[in-house]
Symmetry: C2
Subunit: 227 residues, 2 copies
C-alpha cells in the first residue's frame, strides 16, 4: 500500500456500494421491477452504504450472528479515491482514482429488493476491505478482471468485471454529482449474481486478478465478541 | 457540551435515522404499504444512514443544489450514545444514552418510499447536527417534547415526540441487536409527517423543548463551494 498521501484502509469509515450492477444479477431480479411499485428497472445506479461498524480488514474474523437464517458473501472490486472529486465527468473520472482494492459485502439472505437493507447488511464486521490498495497504474483495465469467491479452498463463484452495468467512470460521475468524494473514500463497484452461502467456521477468500486476495473467517457471536 | 468522555458532535461520522416513526407520517403513506410488493406495513423500524459528507453543525451553511425540484427539512430529536451497547434490552436501554441533540434531515422531495433514498438524502451538508449535547438528566421525558420547525422566523411545523411509533428504548434494543453502538454515535429518532419545503436563502431552525435550537441557512451551490 502506498503511503504517499496517507490513504490507509484501516481509517476507512464507510463504503459506498452499488447494488444491481452486474448484468446477470439485474436479469435475476428483473421480474420484480416489472411489478408495482416500480414497473420499470432503475434508471440510475442504486446505492447503499456499509457504515463504520461493518468495516474490517483482511484476515480479521467476521461475525456469523446467532439466530439468523444464513449469511452470504458478496465480492466486489473497490475503487479508492485519490483526490477530491465533485461533479466530475465520465471522461475525467479516472484521474480521481488512486487505486483498487477488494470489498466483501456480507449480508443476510434477502428475498426482496424493496425493503431497506440496513438490518441485513450492517452487522458488525460485515464489510471486510483490503488487503491493500493497488495503484491504478498496476491494473491495466479495471473492466477486465476476473473475480473468484473461494470458500475453504473450493471455488464457489466466478465473475468478471466486464459484466458491470454502470462502468467505473459512470459511477464516479453519478456519485460525485451529489456528494463530494474525498481521498481515501471507497466505492464497491458491484456484486455478481448468485450470492454464495457461507457457514460459521468458513474461510472466505475473494481473489481479484491484479488486485489481490481478501480472506476472512466466519466465527460465532460468542467467539467474535470474546475479549 | 460535556467533555467528560470526549464525545464531540464535530467528530460524528454518520447519523443512523429512523424512517416512518411518527404516527401521522405512517398514516400518510399507509396506502402505499397496502399494495405490492409489501402488502403490509413494516414490522420493525426502518433505518437509513446519513453518511459523513452530510454531517454539519449549527450555524453552518447547507447546500441548496442546482437543478433540483426542491429541498425539504426533516426535524428529529437525536439520541447520543454514552456507552458501548450491544443487544441491550428495552428495559436497560436508557442507561446507554448520554444525552440529546437535534438533527435536521435535509432531503430532496420523495414520491415513493420504495426507491433507496441515498441520492436524495446524501448531498454534502444535508445533515446538520447540534448545537450541543444536552445531558439526559436535563430532559425530564424525551417522549414528551415539542418540536418546532421555523423558517425565517415563521413557525412552519409543530410536532411532539409523544407521536413516536417506536420509543427510544425500543429503537436502541432493535439497532443494538445487530450492530454495536459506540459512545458518540447518534440516532435520529424519527421525522414528523408533512415535510417543510424550503428555499435558497432560508434560515431553517429546529427548536426542541429542553434540547435547544439548530439553525442553518441554505445557500446556492456557487456560494456553498466558494473557497
Amino acid at each position: 500500500m502506498s503511503l504517499k498521501n496517507n490513504i490507509d484502509l484501516a481509517n476507512v469509515r464507510e463504503v459506498i456500494c452499488v447494488a444491481l450492477n452486474y448484468i446477470g444479477h439485474v436479469e435475476e431480479v428483473e421480474n420484480q421491477f416489472d411489478k408495482a411499485p416500480y414497473k420499470e428497472p432503475p434508471k440510475t445506479p442504486v446505492l447503499f452504504i456499509k457504515p463504520q461498524n461493518t468495516i474490517t480488514q483482511d484476515k480479521k474474523n467476521v461475525l456469523y450472528p446467532d439466530e439468523v437464517s444464513g449469511v452470504q458473501a458478496g465480492p466486489s472490486l473497490a475503487v479508492v479515491i485519490g483526490k477530491q472529486a465533485r461533479k466530475v465527468s465520465e471522461m475525467e473520472a479516472m484521474d480521481y482514482i488512486k487505486g483498487y482494492t477488494i470489498f466483501n459485502d456480507f449480508s443476510l439472505p434477502e428475498q426482496s429488493y424493496f425493503r431497506p437493507a440496513i438490518t441485513s447488511k450492517c452487522y458488525d464486521s460485515f464489510g471486510p476491505l483490503g488487503p491493500a490498495i493497488v495503484d491504478k497504474e498496476a491494473v491495466a483495465d479495471p473492466h477486465d478482471l476476473e473475480i473468484k469467491t473461494i470458500v475453504n479452498g473450493e471455488l464457489r463463484q466466478e465473475a468478471h468485471t466486464d459484466e458491470l452495468v454502470w462502468s467505473i467512470p459512470a459511477l464516479l460521475e453519478f456519485i460525485s454529482s451529489f456528494k463530494t468524494l474525498y481521498p481515501g473514500e471507497v466505492i464497491a463497484t458491484g456484486f455478481p449474481a448468485g450470492r454464495v452461502d457461507v457457514s460459521v467456521g468458513d474461510e472466505v477468500s475473494i481473489e481479484i486478478e491484479s488486485v489481490g486476495c481478501l480472506s476472512n473467517t466466519l466465527v460465532s457471536e460468542k467467539d467474535f465478541y470474546a475479549v
